[in-house]
C-alpha cells in the first residue's frame, strides 16, 4: 500500500506540459474490491489467530506441575507444591506442562517470560493462569520481567528461570 501511494504520488506529479488533473468520477468498484481483499486477508489472519488461541487454554492437570506466583512490590514469590518457596527464581522441570497461578499481594503487576511468549496480568484479589513448557534444562538469567508499571521498583522486578531435569526436580520436591 505504501508502494502504491508513493508510485501514484510520483507518477501523477505536476510536470510542465503534463496532462491536466482529471475531473472524472472515481471508480466505486475499487472500494468494494478493497473490502473483499482486506476481508479475506483478515479472515485468514483471524482464522490463524483462532486456531492458535487454543494454545492459551490451560492443559489438563495430569502430568502437569502447578506453581503459585505472587507478585509484590517489588519481586516475585514462587510457591511450590511441596510448600517450598523462593523469591525471584522460578525452578521448573524440563519437558513438562507448567501451570502458573498468578496473583498479587498489592498492586497490578504483569508476569511475562518473553522468550516463551507467555504473559498474564497479576491482579490483586484475582488468580489468573498461564502455562508453558521448556524442553531443555538450563539457567535463563533475567528471563522473567514485570510488564506493568507497579511503582518505583518496576524496573527491578526481574527473576531468573531455572529449568532442571526431571530427576533433580523429583529429589528437590521430596526434600524438606
Amino acid at each position: 500500500m505504501i508502494g502504491l501511494l508513493l508510485f501514484f504520488a510520483v507518477k501523477y506529479r505536476a510536470r510542465k506540459g503534463g496532462p491536466p488533473a482529471s475531473k472524472g468520477p472515481e471508480s466505486v468498484w475499487v472500494v468494494l474490491a478493497v473490502v473483499l481483499i482486506m476481508g479475506s486477508v483478515l479472515a485468514a489472519a483471524g482464522y490463524q489467530s483462532f486456531a492458535s488461541a487454543t494454545n492459551i487454554e490451560i492443559p489438563a492437570a495430569s502430568n502437569s506441575v502447578t506453581i503459585t506466583v505472587t507478585g509484590f512490590q517489588w519481586g516475585w514469590n514462587f510457591t511450590y507444591p511441596n510448600g517450598h518457596f523462593a523469591i525471584d527464581n522460578l525452578t521448573v522441570p524440563a519437558g513438562r506442562d507448567i501451570i502458573l497461578n498468578v496473583t498479587s499481594k498489592d498492586v497490578y503487576h504483569e508476569f511475562g517470560i518473553p522468550m516463551l511468549a507467555v504473559k498474564e496480568d497479576v491482579v490483586p484479589g484475582k488468580v489468573n493462569q498461564l502455562w508453558f513448557e521448556v524442553p531443555d534444562p538450563g539457567v535463563y538469567v533475567d528471563a522473567i520481567h514485570c510488564f506493568q508499571l507497579c511503582g518505583v521498583g518496576h524496573a527491578f522486578m526481574i527473576a531468573n528461570l531455572t529449568v532442571v531435569s526431571q530427576a533433580s526436580w523429583d529429589s528437590w520436591m521430596s526434600s524438606k
Binding site: L5, V35, Y108, V123, V152
Partner: protein, 807 residues
Amino acid sequence: MIQMGAASWLRRWLTTTNHKDVGLLYLFTSLYFGMAGGALALLMRVQLTVPNNNFLSALYYDQAVTMHGLIMILWFLSPLAVAFFNYLVPLQIGAKDLAFPRLNALSYWFFLSGGILAVTSFFVPGGAAASGWTTYQPLSSPSFQPGPGPTLVYVGLLLLAVSVTLGSVNIITSILWMRTRGMSFSKLPMFTWFALFTTGAMLYAFPTLIAAFALNVSDRLLGTAFFTSPALLSVPGIDPSILWDNLFWFFGHPEVYIVLLPAFGVIANIIPSFTGRPIAGRNWIIISTALVVLPLSFGVWMHHMFLTGIPLSLQESFDVSTEAISIPFGIIIISFILSLVRGRIEFKTPFLFVIGAVVLFIVGGIMGVFLSSPVLDRQFNGSYFVVSHFHYVMVGATIFGLIAAIYYWLPRMTGRMYSESLGRAHFLISFIGFNVLYGPMSLLSDMPRRVFTYPNTGDLGVVNEIATAGAFIFVFAQVLLAYNVVHTWFRGPASGPNPWGSSGLEWTTDAAERTPAADTEAPPRGGWIGQLASSVTAPTQEVAQDPSHGHGLHTSTRPFTLGLGATVFFLGAPFYPSMSGLALMVIGGAVVLYTLFSWARDDLGERFSVPDEGEERYPFSALPKVKLGMWVFLSSEVIFFGSLIAAYLFIREAVVGWPVASSIHDVPLGTANTLVLLTSGFTMAMAILSIRKGNQRALLLWLATTFSLGAVFMGVKISEWSNLASAGFTITSPTPMYQLAASAYYFLVGLHGAHVTAGLIIMLYLMKKTLSGAYTKDSHGAIENFGLYWAFVDIVWCFIFPLFYLL
C-alpha cells in the same frame, strides 16, 4: 486597531468569545503543552540511552512517563485539533461563530485550568502522578500513591474532561444547526465532517473518563473506598483493578480514534488542493467512519484486557471486533491513495506531511492488527513494540496530519506565506528522525515499557542509543517548525487571499483581514458589553438578534473568572484540611459562585449578544438551538450515569454478602420521596403547558410548586443521610462491606442530589425571570430546556432508587 496597549491586548485575550481568537488560544496553548510533553520525552530518552543509567531516578522517570502520556494525549493532541475545529468549522459552514460563544471560551479556560493544575503537581511535595497515564488501580489509590500531586493531576483531568464535553456539545450543535444557506450535508467540507465525528466520539467517550476519575478523586479527597480500602483487597473476588480497566479502556480506546480522526479530516480536506482532483470515495470515507469506525470504536476496548483473565471466548470476540475496525480504515486509506490517481500533484509542504501521515499510519495500523490477536498479545503486551505501535499512530499519523493543517491554514490565519524550503526541510528531518526513533523500538518486544532502566543484555543498549539519537533529530526538526511559524507570523510575505486555489468557504469569506480579530478595535468606555446591551433590540427566544454588529464584538469576562476560580479552588482541595488549602478553596469557591451569579445577571439583563442562527438545519429544523444543545448534552449525561451505575453493578456482582437494602434504608420513606420527585416532574410539565398557552401566572405557580417538591425531596434526603450516618453506615465503617456499600450509596445518590440542587438553583433564576415577564407564549425556550433537564433528573432517580433501596 493600530495601537493597542498591553492592557487592551490582555483584555482582548482574556475576554474574547470569538471563535477565531479562542481557536488561536487553543493553538498556542496546546503547542506549549506539546513542548512540555516533548521535554519530558527527551528526559526519558536521555535516561534510556545506555543501560543502568542514573540520569533520572525511578520516581522522576515514572512521573515523566505518566505526565508525558497525559499531557501529550489530553492537553496537546486533542486540543490542537480543537484549535482547528474552533477556527475553521464556523468559517467552513459559513456561520458567524459557534453556537455558544461564551461556553466555548469557558471550554478553553477549563482546558487551561486543568493543564495548570496538572503541571503544578510537579512542584508540590511528592511530585506528580507516577502510575502511568492509564492510572491503573490500586497503584493510583491513596494507599499506594499518597500526596497532593497526583490529586492535582486527577482534578485537572476532570476539569479537562468537562471542558471537552462542553466543547463537544458546542461544536456538534454548531455543525447541525448553524450552517449557512445551501451548506447541506452533501456539501459539508471533509474537515468539518471529521470535526463532527470526533466531537461525537468525545461526547460519548469522555463521560466514562469523568465517571472513572470522579470515583478516583472521591477516594482521594472524600475518603470513599472504591479502589483503596486495604480491607477490601483481602476480600476474595473484589478486584477494583478490573473495574478500573473496564472504565478506563471504555474511554481509552475511542480516545485513540478521537486523537486520530481530526488528522484524517485534514488529509481528506486538503488533498484536492494539491492534486487538482476531488477526493476519491468521499461518501465511502464518510459512511465508513460514521457507520463503522464510530460505533465499533466503543466495542473493542477489551483488547487492552486480554491478559486480565477474561474468558477465551471474550478474547476471541474482541479479536474479531478489533480486526473488523481495520476494514473501514482500509477503505479510507485506499480512498486517499486513489485520490492521487490522474491528478496533477504539487509537492508542497502540507502535501508532504499528508503523504508522511498516511505512510506512518499504514505501518502503525498493521502493527495494531498484530496486537488484536490474543496469542500475539502474549508476546507484545506491555513491551516497547506497543510503544512503537501507538507512537506510529499518534505521532506519525496524528501529528504529521495536524502539522499539515498548520502549514495549510497558516496563510488563512496570518495572511502570510510560510517558507517552503524550510517547510520541506522540516518534513524531511521529521520523517527521518521519527523512523530512527520509533523504528528500532518495534524490535524491542522483550523490553518492558515504563522501566526507568534496563540491564546490559544483548543489543538492548545499541537499539536504545539509536532511538535516543532519533528523538533528538525529531525534536530538532520541530524547532524548525516553531521558527517557521513565528517568522511567518511577523515577517512572512503576503500569501494572497486564497493561496491554494481552494473552493472552501474559509478562504472565500473575509479573507482580506490580516489577523483573525482585526475587527477588534480598542474597546469603548465600559467595554463592549455596555455598548451591546444598549443596542440589543427585542430578543426573540434565546437568540438576541443584533444586525448592527459583525462577529467578534461580544466579549465576556465570565468564562475567564470561572476558570480562574475553579483553578484556585482545586489548587486548594488536595491540601484540605490545612489552613492554606482551606483558604484557597474558600477564595476559589467565592469567585466561582460570584461569577455564576453574575453570569445569570448578564442573562437577566440580556447583556450578551448571541450569534445569528444558521439557515441549513436539516434534520433539526424544528428544534431551537439551545434545546438541541440540551439534548446533545443530556445524551452525554446518560453515558455518565450509565457508567457509574455499571460500575456499581460490577462491584455488587463481584461481592458476596452485600448488606440487604431493607436492613439499611428506610424503604417506605424512600418510596414516598420518590413519589414526591415524580410529582415534581408532573408539575414541571404543567409549567411548560401553561406558558405554551401564554399564562405567566400559572407558569409561576407551577414553577414554585416544582421548586417546593424538589426542596422537600432534598430535605428528606439530607435527613436520611444524617440518620444513616448516626446509625454507622459511613464510608469509614470498620466493616469492609459496609464501607464499600456506603461509598457507592453516598457517591451515586449524592451526585443525583447535586443535580437536583443545581435544578433548584436554576428554578430560582427562572422564577425571577418569570416575574419580570420575560417568558411569553412564543418565547420561553429556557422553560422548555429546563423541563428536559428536570425530566432527566427524575429518570435517573428511577434507576437509582430500585438499585439501592429495593435490590
